[in-house]
């Protein structure tokens, strides 16, 4: 077996690879923006929304080990906040984004409190309960405050500085870029959190709470605030959904939405940074391909109804996928890529001479200490 190529972390080669990767992604985005039909752009926007939600769930579940089936509720709360405040009170949509995030953060903190005492499946059940209660709350709100069965989404106008007109094509283009920017911001927030002291304390709490507490991590603070931040980021996804959807109703953010977030996260790979984004795009477009193509399959025997074929195949695909890549797509690619190239940390600085046992025998050449 050949040895993998070693790349020094933060070496010029490593930076070059990073720059090539990011510019390739940017080039793909620009290509789609200038060539794709508005309907395709709409689909990418939807996938980005799913990706934001999966990234937010990854912060909580992947890095902090707290499962939540209630993320659809945060998205729903944000979407309804945005839809209602923009339509009924004529708020600026951007203000509604801020308010929605603050509300979600508060609800997340609140849900984080019982989470302090509950573990694993018990927490799953409690968050499941929250997801299950949301449609009821939404329906009561629609009945009593909006007095209609649906709430209008906010029709986001492209700001004038973008030079985009307020028509269908330009709005799709605007939403496409907006969702990409929000996805990048969300990703950056989670990435920077993960790479910082806070991120290391999150992972420490996930791996061993007692050990983390002994090391000085404030458990209740870390866990509840993570819940809050994750909820606020899920709120961004909800707000974005309210910008795309023409109408919102009680079933827009059901428990099935939460399950979709969870599947997207696992498909891509939990506890990896890129995992939820890759997973969300894979899940969304696999689902989309099956849904558009399955009704055309004439080779299916007559008595089978074709409607559920797509959703059945998606379920089977998910199961098969677990066996091929149990750690998700990103985990799979990482494991394969490690055979070709590895990123190694920069060389260690030489230890101070006093602690070097060999120093007495033969003085080591002085290394650069910076």
């Amino acid at each position: 077996m050949t040895m993998p190529i070693k790349i020094r972390e933060s070496s010029p080669l490593h930076w070059a690879l990073r720059v090539v990767g990011v510019s390739a992604l940017a080039a793909i985005a620009v290509y789609f923006a200038s060539n794709a039909a508005p309907s395709t752009l709409g689909k990418i926007t939807e996938a980005c929304t799913l990706a934001i939600a999966a990234v937010s769930l990854n912060l909580l579940l992947g890095f902090n080990g707290q499962i939540s089936l209630g993320h659809s509720t945060f998205a729903g709360l944000a979407a309804f906040t945005a839809g209602y405040s923009v339509n009924a009170w004529h708020w600026n949509p951007w203000v509604s984004l801020g308010v929605a995030c603050v509300l979600c953060f508060a609800l997340g903190l609140l849900l984080g409190l019982p989470a302090l005492r509950l573990k694993g499946p018990y927490l799953a059940l409690v968050t499941l309960a929250v997801a299950f209660v949301w449609p009821t709350v939404a329906r009561k709100f629609l009945q009593q405050t909006v007095k209609a069965s649906t709430l209008k989404g906010m029709r986001l106008r492209p700001p004038t500085w973008t030079g985009l007109a307020n028509n269908r094509v330009d709005r799709a283009l605007f939403l496409f870029w907006l969702s990409l920017v929000l996805l990048v911001i969300t990703y950056a927030i989670v990435r920077n959190l993960r790479k910082s002291r806070i991120g290391r304390s999150l992972v420490a709490v996930r791996d061993n709470e007692t050990a983390a507490a002994v090391m000085g991590v404030n458990l209740p603070f870390t866990k509840t605030v993570t819940f809050g931040i994750s909820a606020a980021l899920a709120g961004v996804a909800g707000w974005l959904a309210a910008a795309q959807l023409a109408t919102l109703d009680e079933n827009s953010f059901s428990i099935l939405t939460s399950i979709k977030y969870l599947l997207a996260l696992f498909l891509g790979g939990a506890a990896t940074l890129a995992g939820p984004v890759v997973g969300a795009f894979t899940y969304f477009f696999a689902d989309d391909l099956l849904k558009t193509n399955a009704p055309k399959w004439d080779f299916l025997p007559g008595p089978l109804s074709k409607g559920p074929v797509a959703s059945f195949l998606l379920g089977v695909l998910v199961i098969v996928f677990v066996f091929i890549a149990p750690l998700g797509l990103v985990g799979f690619v990482k494991a394969q890529g490690r055979k070709l190239a590895v990123v190694v940390p920069p060389p260690l600085r030489p230890a101070p001479k006093a602690s070097d046992p060999t120093a007495h025998a033969s003085p080591a050449p002085a290394g650069e200490v910076e």
């Binding site: 018990y122 799953a124 299950f132 089978l304 559920p308």
Partner: protein
Amino acid sequence: MGHLLQYILNGLARGSIYSLIALGLVVIYRGTGHLNFAQGEMALFATFGAWWINDHGFPLWISILLAALGAFVGGGLIEYSLIRPAAKKSPFAVVVITIGLFQAFNSLSGLLFKGAATGLPFGTLFPDAPSDFFRLPGGVIWRYENIGVLVTVVIITVLLFVLFQKTKIGLAMRMVANNADSAKLAGVPTNKVLMLSWALSAAIGTIGGCLVAGINANVSLGTMFGVFLLASAAATLGGLDSPIGAVVGGLSLGVVESLVTNYPNDWWGSTYIGADTAIAVAFVIILVVLLVKPSGLFGSTRVERV
């Protein structure tokens, strides 16, 4: 007072079904520590199977037994072919597989059984004509169907307890639940026990599904979803590793659901509170209970050694 008794009796029938599905969840959780998200949909598929056999001219009780038998085999096969190999790969893998199964079984039911989305008529094992009830003091009526469901569930529960407490297999199952590694060292065939847990759980679920379909006189793709949610809530309330907890949790949730749905309507007029509001109230109660006792009413608390 008459109303109270009436509502409790109505709630017990539905509650006993929640207990049954919750028992299925507990049987699996005790063995492997996994929450089977597909429990409800596996039961749904088998219930459609029972409908199909019944549709081909077999008596209903034989159809249900055959379906339960099929589910027993199927549940064991799922454990052997999917769950066991996946559990070795990653801790998240089993969760994803049960979610995948959830989706696959629900859509497979829609795929194979025409009219499943809108609902298929399902018979009941018990007399359910409008006049089939006991008259209790205070104008309370106890329908034969509700009694029948309750008695069926009690019989199955008692059989399960005999299995757990009085047989060698039950002893092995309890050993695995207590400490799988020690059980393995002591010569318990853990793999067979886990397979049996899944098989039993699937069979129990099937009977639960058929009872729900019998009460509703109808089975559709959405039948088991709400039942599964309440059953999992019941299992959590009672403690996920406690069979007694599942029974107590299920019955009390059924009663709470019935009381919360009916009383406000008596007080403030109809349609103030819908069925799903009742479920919301039930979930709030569970939240409060879990805050006081994080491992449920009867669940065992594990002391962690550092």
